[in-house]
Structure formats: structure tokens, C-alpha cells
């Protein structure tokens, strides 16, 4: 979808991000930087035990400290149950509501026990230490596989609490007859999002019973929904304003702090700030879901996949959160990457007494791709086939259908990604190289991935926008966009500027505010550029149509004769009589008493796959187990890059997260105590600059979908193929079949022990 014919002026260009300079200069006020008059500070007390009944809470000493306004626990806060991932009214049916502001039974180390509300942070912190809690310890379980025994009961449900099956063909029959079956068990860790900005929000009550919440969120209407529910307020008494985002990666997609913060503001009748520190973010907010998958692939001797079977366990932690949704999301991806006529996926979700899992960049795709791709790799190995050749033989092709019944894959160009990437990487040459002798081993590996473009085919996916032209020709877009730092605002300006033929800087865009923005589903499901971008394109075309018809009146010509170029407009019949856009807008107001403004709802009409293939070279130190990623080539089918530098930025960042997922990042939980051992950046290692490899990006831009100018998503898929590609390269280097992530030095050396003996 796009403007017909002519070359593009703004789309496809590398404009800088609209607030980048302000961020670099420290001019942006993040939520944590805000101080409102009379604002109180809340601090949280977290459970030290993985599972316990709270017998009593003695807050007398805390309350006696001057400056302490109140202590809040399960005894004096709403008992309303909710699920933090619910984002539209009516979604409750598919998920368990098992969270409360404060619980009377703690279910993981880091569960919220109490809050102190005080005049400043120091007072709150001091009071926190004086709260005495008496617990009755309960049996606990941190192992998702053991959850199936149902020995430890975390919630009044049987584990697994959710099972989802997708299938096509008849895999059982094929497996019975197949000669070659390759099976693997793959494990992926709980991971911290590691956004620079911690979780934070501010709630402000007004004199009319309305609560305004300032929060760096991804889905403001989800915040509104849950806060209104917990506080018992009508929706129009909860105003959510999306503040500048200091990093989310899905970590701020769910409603975590807002209900409590809003309640404290309502109860104290004062503005309240609630901000977590790093340790609190790691142990008590959300993590990437830990997943264990057993996968079987049946192939014929020539490398055609006959059938696949996936048995997957998702560990959602102590509360349900998105445990059901992610199990479904993972399964769907498997029917959109390889042509497999007979395939079954069975995913099951369980609770454990660990930090709650939730949305995290890729929403299960990095996990399921690790499971799938590592098994594709070992299947190729069993066949003695080059893993690239094996993949190309089986990958989906443009316009293939989703055999599980999902939307068409669209112009799926994963084979092109694989072949172009392989060429740039010099895959065949590197693969054929003689192995190094001695301490350091080198290997190359690859992996592919797909991810979606919105909710079309699963949920409602629509967006309403209002676009207006002001009397000086500048424009304002009113929408519920949530800029997460990816370039949403600038890219959307580029699209509107392209349609209107005007400088993108002359277009202003506010972000989400539930009181003034039209409805938007939020920044989730990799939908923003494909769906909201298309909405922006459509509405710009509508405003352009209105503009032309009005200009036609003024020029006394037909609308088709109106030319618009760089904020100047004229009739093709009278090229010398030129007016600015502003002159048209003013004249229209004066003569026709009309504003150039349109409000429109756009409904998504497709959900093609985005695709990627990543190639990696690694060097493994066989004595210390340390791995160095030497080279990465990342090829992605993004349809069209509205702003190629933003797209590359997403890919670089996605690779950085994926290297950590593959090699270092792991929220380690002590099985004896349930305590998170890696609770700071001193012992939870994200990959830093010295360990980042050079990265080469290849973009396949063939459009052919309903996104704006053919744009498809990149933000999430960017991190979905890199980890299995790295693990595959390590296995190639060492001749191992390591499948438990992350590949820590310890796991490498233990994996090499059989060879050493």
C-alpha cells in the first residue's frame, strides 16, 4: 500500500529520531525526573520467601516515624483480582485473574508484601525496615517440570493450568513410519529486560475523584482498564498519560505498578511516585518466560521434512500473567516458517514460585525459534546436509498459507534472506574451512525466524486517528501512539510527510493520553509500523483528498488538477498562481467555515510474516569456555524500511539482546531458597560493547503487503534468530549438541568433558 508511482521524498530516508538530541542533552524529563508539588514517595517491601502465608504484619514502629503517611498491606487495600496482561475489556475469559495489589500469600521471592508512603524516599526506606512480618512458610517449587506433579499448590488450579494444541496433517502416522527421526530437548532461561529506565509511575488525584497516571507504558488503555477495575472507578475517571519511555522491551507492557500507585494517590489524596531500583526490577517485575521444549523431526533421506512434533512447557512464574497467551503465540509461529504438512504443537503453561514472566521482545518467538532451529540444525547434521541447504529446501515461500489456519504468510521472503545472507557471510567458504587445531575453535552457524505484524486474525486490530492542518499549513496528528524509543513518531511523520509532500518537522504528534487520544491497542504484537503506520498513511490520504477538493474550489479547477509540492499548491492549469498550504487552510476557514480535519478508524487487513536469517561466526576458548562472537550477518525481510537507520538500530539492539540470551543472561534462582542469585548487573551480565561483534545488515524490501509502503515489523523479530545461530555456531565449532541456554563457560566446559576423556 502506498502512493502510486513517483520516487519517495521522505519514506526510506534516514531522518534522525525526533527527540534524540533532547535525550542526549538531558532535556527530556523521564517519569523518575518528575517532582510534583506535595508528591509523596512509596517504597515496597518484598517477600524474602518463595511461598508463605502472611500471618501478621506489624507496622506500628514504621508508622511512628515522622513523615510516614501510611503503611499499606493486603489488609487495607482493595482485594480485587486482576491479570496484568489483560489489555481489553472482556479478555478476562481466557486468562486467570490471580494478582492483587497486595497478597496475603506470597508466592515468590520479590512478591509485594507492603508499601510505605512517606514524604520522602529516605523516610520511606527507613520505615520499610521497621515493618515486622510473620510468615508461615509453605512448600515451594521453582522447577517447571516438577510443577506437573501438583505437589506444591501455588494457585487453586491443576498444573499445567493451560494447554494449547495446534496441528496440521497427521504427524503420528508419519512418525510411526519415518526412518529418520531427530529429537532434541532445548531449554531457554528467564531473562531480565534490562531497560535503562527502571519501572516507575506517578499517580495524581484531582478534586473531582479523577486519577491521572503518568507512566512509561506500552498500552495505556490496558493501564486504564486495570486501574479502573481495581479502584472501582469509571473509565473516564482514570486518565493515563504515556510518558517518555526509557526502555521497555515488553517489560513495561503489563500493568505492574500502576494499580498500587493509583490506589495510594486516591487514598492519600496526594500525588504519589513509585519507582523501583534495579534489583527490584529484576526480582519482582517481569521476565522473559523460561521454556523447555522437546522437539522431534521426521525427514526423508533427501532432506524433506515429513513431520514435526513439539512438546513445550512455559514457566510463567508465580502469577499467570501472559502464560496462556505466550503458549499460543509460540505455537502459531511454527506453522509459518517451514513447509511441514504434518505438524503438532502442544504447549503447556505452569506456575512456579519464581519471578513472574511476561511480555519480552519477541513474545515467545526467541524461545520457540531456539527450540525449532537447534533441532533443524541437528537434523541437518544427522542427514550430513549443509544446514543452509536443508533449510532452503524446507522454508516457506511467498504467498504460502498457514496450515494451522492463521492468516496468509504474505510475501514471505525468508529464502531470499537465507541466500542473500549466506552470500554476504561467505557461508559455504567458512563452513568448508578446516577446523583450527589447538585451544581455540571456530565455527559458523545460522538460524531463521518469523514473527507477526499485529493482531489481525487473532484479535481486533484497529486504530483511530485525527489529522488536522492548521492555518499556517503545519499539521497535528492526534493518536494513541506509544513511542518506545524505536522511532515510531519520526517514522509516522515520514509517512504523513510523504503523502502531504511537506517537511516532516512541520508535523506534530502527541503520544498516548487516554483523555485526548483516540483508541489504540498499544505498542505490542509488532503492530505499530504495519498497522498504525498504515492508519497514518490512510488518514493522510483522506486529509489530502479534503485539501485538494477545497483547493479546487479556490483555484476553480477539478481536484485532480491540484498539485501539492513542498507545502506549495497550484492548479496544473495555472502553474503561476501558487498558494502555500497555510493560505489554503486559512482561506478555507474564512470562506467555507471549515477546518481541514479528519478522524478515521483503520482496521488491519492482513498479518504477513516478517522474516529473518542470521549468520554467525564464533570462536570458543576450549580451556576457559569463553565464547567470542566474531561476525554477524543479519538479513531481514521487512517489506519496506520507512527509516533504514531505525531498522538497523532495531537489528543491532536485537542482536545485542540475543547474544546475551545465547551466552550470558540468566535469572538464576537458588533451588534451596527460591532467591534470585543474579539480582544486579554485577552478576547478571548483559553483553557490553567490548564483546559485541561487527554486524552487517541486509534488508530485503519487496513490499507487497498492506503496511504503509509495504512496511513490516522489525522490532521483535530482530532478536529472534540470533541466539540459535550462535548456539549452532558453537556446536559446529566443538562438534557438540549443546541445547541448554545460555551457553555459559561452565556449560561449555562440561559439554567438552566427554571429548576430553
Amino acid at each position: 500500500m502506498g502512493e502510486e508511482g513517483q520516487g519517495l521524498k521522505y519514506v526510506g530516508k534516514n531522518l534522525p529520531i525526533h527527540d534524540g538530541a533532547a535525550k542526549v542533552r538531558g532535556r527530556i524529563k523521564y517519569t523518575g525526573d518528575l517532582a510534583l508539588e506535595g508528591m509523596l514517595i512509596a517504597k515496597l517491601l518484598f517477600s524474602p520467601l518463595p511461598h508463605a502465608k502472611i500471618l501478621s504484619i506489624d507496622a506500628k514502629a514504621a508508622l511512628a516515624i515522622p513523615g510516614v503517611i501510611g503503611v499499606y498491606t493486603h489488609e487495607n487495600t482493595p482485594k480485587t483480582h486482576y491479570n496484568s496482561q489483560v489489555w481489553f475489556d472482556g479478555q478476562e475469559a481466557m486468562t486467570l485473574e490471580d494478582e492483587r495489589i497486595f497478597t496475603d500469600t506470597v508466592r515468590f521471592v520479590g512478591d509485594k508484601v507492603a508499601a510505605v508512603l512517606a514524604v520522602d524516599e529516605r523516610t520511606a526506606q527507613e520505615a520499610l525496615g521497621l515493618i515486622k512480618v510473620e510468615y508461615e512458610a509453605l512448600p515451594f517449587n521453582v522447577d517447571p517440570e516438577k510443577a506437573f506433579d501438583n505437589v506444591v499448590s501455588i494457585h487453586p488450579v491443576q498444573e499445567p493450568f493451560f494447554t494449547k494444541e495446534f496441528h496440521c496433517g497427521n504427524s503420528d502416522e508419519v512418525f510411526e513410519q519415518a526412518e529418520i527421526i531427530v529429537e532434541d530437548r532445548v531449554e531457554t532461561p528467564k531473562v531480565h529486560h534490562a531497560a535503562m529506565e527502571p519501572h516507575v509511575c506517578i499517580a495524581v488525584p484531582d478534586h473531582n475523584g479523577k486519577i491521572t497516571i503518568l507512566t512509561p507504558c506500552q498500552i495505556m488503555y490496558s493501564v486504564r482498564l486495570t486501574v479502573a477495575k481495581v479502584l472501582g472507578l469509571p473509565f473516564n475517571k482514570v486518565r493515563v498519560i504515556k510518558t517518555p519511555m526509557g526502555g521497555s522491551f515488553g517489560g513495561k507492557q503489563e500493568v505492574i505498578l500502576e494499580p498500587l500507585c493509583a490506589y495510594l494517590a486516591q487514598s492519600s489524596e496526594k500525588p504519589v511516585k513509585l519507582e523501583l531500583n534495579r534489583k527490584e526490577c529484576i526480582i519482582s517485575t517481569r521476565t522473559r518466560t523460561k521454556v523447555i521444549g522437546v522437539v522431534k523431526t521426521a525427514v526423508d533421506g533427501r532432506g524433506k521434512i515429513l513431520a514435526r512434533d513439539f512438546q513445550v512447557i512455559a514457566d510463567t512464574g508465580a502469577y499467570t500473567s501472559n502464560g496462556a497467551a505466550i503458549v499460543s503465540a509460540m505455537g502459531k509461529k511454527l506453522f509459518r516458517l517451514y513447509r511441514v504438512d504434518n505438524q503438532r504443537y502442544q504447549g503447556r503453561a505452569v506456575h512456579t514460585n519464581t519471578t513472574v514472566a511476561g511480555a519480552c521482545r519477541g513474545y515467545g518467538t526467541p524461545q520457540i525459534m531456539a527450540i525449532s532451529e537447534l533441532n533443524i540444525d541437528s537434523t541437518a547434521r544427522r542427514l550430513g546436509m549443509d544446514p543452509l541447504e536443508f533449510r532452503v529446501k524446507n522454508l516457506v515461500q511467498p504467498q504460502d498459507s498457514d496450515l494451522s489456519g492463521g492468516p496468509s504468510l504474505g510475501d514471505a521472503r525468508v529464502i531470499e534472506c537465507a541466500l542473500e545472507g549466506a552470500k554476504a557471510f561467505e557461508w559455504s567458504e567458512k563452513r568448508a574451512r578446516e577446523p583450527l587445531v589447538g585451544r581455540y575453535k571456530r565455527g559458523v552457524g545460522m538460524a531463521c525466524s518469523t514473527h507477526g505484524n499485529g493482531y489481525y486474525g487473532a484479535f481486533q486490530d484497529f486504530v483511530t486517528m485525527t489529522l488536522r492542518m492548521l492555518e499556517d499549513g503545519s499539521m497535528i496528528l492526534l493518536s494513541g501512539l506509544h513511542e518506545l524509543g524505536c522511532g515510531t513518531i519520526t517514522s509516522t511523520k515520514q509517512i504523513i510527510a510523504e503523502v502531504m509532500d511537506m517537511d516532516p518537522d512541520r508535523i506534530e504528534m502527541s503520544e498516548g493520553d487516554t483523555e485526548t487520544s483516540p483508541y489504540d491497542i498499544g505498542s505490542q504484537a509488532s503492530r505499530v509500523m504495519h498497522v498504525c503506520g498504515a492508519a497514518a498513511l490512510k488518514i493522510a490520504q483522506s486529509v489530502k483528498g479534503l485539501f485538494r477538493s477545497q483547493a479546487a474550489f479556490i483555484f476553480k479547477c477539478s481536484p485532480e488538477d491540484v498539485v501539492m509540492c513542498d507545502e506549495m499548491t497550484w492548479s496544473i492549469k495555472e502553474p503561476d498562481k501558487r498558494l502555500t498550504y497555510g493560505e489554503i487552510a486559512r482561506t478555507v476557514q474564512r470562506q467555507h467555515q471549515l477546518e481541514l480535519i479528519i478522524t478515521e478508524t483503520y482496521r488491519a487487513t492482513d498479518n504477513p510474516g516478517s522474516y529473518g536469517a542470521n549468520f554467525v561466526e564464533v570462536e570458543v576458548d576450549t580451556l576457559t569456555g569463553l565464547i567470542k562472537v566474531l561476525d554477524v550477518v543479519a538479513a531481514f525481510d521487512v517489506g519496506k524500511a520507512i527509516n533504514p537507520d531505525f531498522v538497523k538500530g532495531q537489528i543491532y539492539g536485537g542482536i545485542q539482546m540475543g547474544v546475551g540470551f545465547a551466552l550470558t543472561e540468566d535469572i538464576k534462582i537458588d533451588p534451596l531458597t527460591g532467591i534470585v542469585k543474579s539480582d544486579s548487573f554485577a552478576n547478571y551480565h548483559i553483553v557490553n560493547a567490548p564483546d559485541m561483534p561487527p554486524m552487517r545488515v541486509i534488508l530485503i524490501e519487496k513490499g507487497e503487503n498492506d503496511g504503509p509502503y509495504g512496511a513490516k515489523s522489525i522490532g521483535e523479530i530482530a532478536t529472534c534468530a540470533i541466539a540459535p545461530a550462535i548456539v549452532s555456531a558453537v556446536n559446529h565449532a566443538l562438534g557438540t549438541n549443546l541445547t541448554v541456554l545460555p551457553l555459559t563457560p561452565e556449560r561449555i566446559l562440561m559439554g567438552l568433558l566427554p571429548q576430553k576423556k
Binding site: R439, Y440, L623, T624, T664, D691, T744, E746, M750
Partner: protein, 298 residues
């Protein structure tokens, strides 16, 4: 003196001023050098001193000089200074190498050698180095001066022999002349900004003519509460340099790990990984040709 966050703060510009204040002050004192550990402890409330004294602006505690065959280092000298100081690079190279591998650029710009000793981390990177340099540590309080070997200063994880009103003022060690080579190697979980899982320091005296080692000093860190020397290993290294030396070095280091941390979770990994450090150390001290197959690492 300014009241600051629950404790008083004092920033003297001479050691005399500092000692006078210490003598007069009635209450607990924390000495602030780079603050890379202390500030965090203060913020977390792990330490609650009545008075914080900043030692970083005292010229006597800063810098490196050579005197009578010894290198003298002020306790508040930063890792960044040590890493590139010509005297350290020439006559105590292993210390420069350790200083380069500590923390991040920002940590190295703030963190000090005295602080590394006072923090007494089991993984402190300069500690095995100071052991093999046979460094003496000068401690002062208003009552006087003590000069002790590092092994006596370090008493355990986070524990030293310092009395509550005592601070480290200087570090000294005999210069390594041309007959010596020295080195430091570290293994963390990533290339930079990492706490050592293992660290290893060596000072070796080589008799080039007879192709032999006449003196060896080896120390390891992160294998117990404090870094320690390996006297048996040192003796075994003395003698003619032969092709089996590296293997002996590796085996004895593995044995050291076995003796130090058997039964610990990290034991199986460290007993293998220390062999990598041993190889790195040989390359560092004797060049790439000293390990089998040379060094293929890019």
C-alpha cells in the same frame, strides 16, 4: 564540615589534617578514596559511619615514585594512573596489567590501589599481584605507623587488620629489574567490566644464559577468602625451562583449585578453566612460542 545524608563529611588536603581530625573525632569513620565500593555500601546502608573522610585530595597519598630500589605508591593512586605509569610499566608490569583489567574505564578513573586492599574482596585483582611483588602496606592512625606485608593485612573476605581509625597510606615493593618478567591474567564472565572468577599473578626471574628460572612467585585470587601465594608451585617452577613446564604449571594450578574449593559449585569449572589462565600467563611472560601450537587466537 558539611552534614550529608546521615554522616558528616571531611575533605582534608594534608595527611596531618586528616590524622588530627581522626584523633579528635569520637565516632565511626569511613575513609573514602575512589568510592566505587563505599558509596554503594553507604547507599544500601551496609555501612553507617558517623564521619566520611575523603582521602583522594591529599597529595602525599597520590602518585608513584622510586626510592632506594623500591617503588612507592600512594594509597589513593587510581588504577588509571597505575595502568599507564612509566615506572609501574617498567618495574612492576603485572600491577599495570591488573589495573588495566579492573572494572570499567569509569571505575578505573576513580578506584584506587588502597581501596582495593581495604575492600579485601576475594576477587580483588591487585591483591595477587601485590603478593607476588612482595608488597608492604603502610598503615597509619594518629598513634603511629605500621608497615606490614599484604598477607598480614588481608584477614578474610572483606576483612583486614586495619583498626577503626587506621587508613592505608602507601604501598611499596622492590622494583623488578631487567632479570624479571611479571604478568597478570584474569578470567571473568566477559571481556571487560567483570568480577574475576579466577585471577593469577606471576613474577619470574629468568636466567637467559642457562635457560632457566631462578625464582618464581605465583599467587591466585578468587579461590578462597583471600588471594594467596603458591609456595610448592613456585619451587617446582625453579630450574631449567623445558617443554613440560607449562603442563606442570597447569596441573599444579588444577591441584590448587582442587585443594581450595573442592565441593563448591564452581569447582568443576575452575579446575579446568585455570589451565586456560596458565596458558595465557605463559604467553604473557614468555611469548606465543611458549605454548603448544603457538597462539591461534585472533
Amino acid at each position: 564540615m558539611t552534614e550529608y545524608n546521615g554522616y558528616s563529611f571531611f575533605g582534608p588536603s594534608t595527611l596531618k589534617e586528616l590524622l588530627e581530625e581522626v584523633a579528635l573525632f569520637d565516632g565511626s569513620i569511613a575513609f573514602l578514596a575512589g568510592g566505587t565500593d563505599l558509596i554503594i555500601e553507604l547507599k544500601k546502608g551496609k555501612k553507617k559511619p558517623h564521619l566520611v573522610i575523603d582521602v583522594s585530595q591529599i597529595p602525599e597519598l597520590n602518585g608513584v615514585h622510586e626510592e632506594n630500589g623500591f617503588l612507592h605508591i600512594g594509597s589513593a593512586t587510581t588504577f588509571s594512573q597505575l595502568a599507564r605509569h612509566p615506572l609501574i610499566v617498567e618495574k612492576g608490569l603485572c600491577l599495570a596489567q591488573a589495573a588495566r583489567k579492573i572494572g570499567s574505564e569509569q571505575i578505573r578513573n576513580r578506584g584506587t590501589l588502597g581501596g582495593n586492599i581495604a575492600s579485601a574482596s576475594p576477587a580483588g585483582d591487585c591483591l595477587p599481584v601485590l603478593l607476588v611483588l612482595e608488597a608492604m602496606i603502610t598503615l597509619q592512625n594518629p598513634d603511629g605507623v605500621r608497615r606490614l606485608p599484604l598477607s598480614q593485612v588481608l584477614q578474610g573476605s572483606g576483612r583486614t587488620c586495619l583498626t577503626p581509625n587506621e587508613l592505608i597510606t602507601g604501598i611499596d615493593f622492590p622494583v623488578l629489574d631487567g632479570g624479571y618478567v611479571s604478568g597478570f591474567e584474569k578470567l571473568g564472565s566477559r571481556t571487560a567490566v567483570t568480577v574475576a572468577k579466577l585471577n593469577l599473578a606471576a613474577v619470574i626471574k629468568v636466567d637467559q644464559e642457562n635457560h632457566s628460572i631462578t625464582e618464581a612467585r605465583i599467587a591466585v585470587g578468587a579461590l578462597g577468602e583471600t588471594a594467596f601465594r603458591l609456595p610448592d608451585l613456585e619451587q617446582n617452577l625453579v630450574g631449567e625451562i623445558n617443554p613440560f613446564l607449562l603442563h606442570l604449571f597447569e596441573d599444579m594450578l588444577t591441584e590448587t583449585v582442587d585443594n581450595a574449593i573442592s565441593g563448591r559449585y564452581s569447582h568443576p569449572y575452575k579446575r579446568e578453566a585455570i589451565r586456560g589462565l596458565a596458558e595465557d600467563m605463559f604467553v604473557n611472560l614468555f611469548g606465543a612460542s611458549s605454548v603448544p601450537g603457538g597462539r591461534t587466537h585472533g
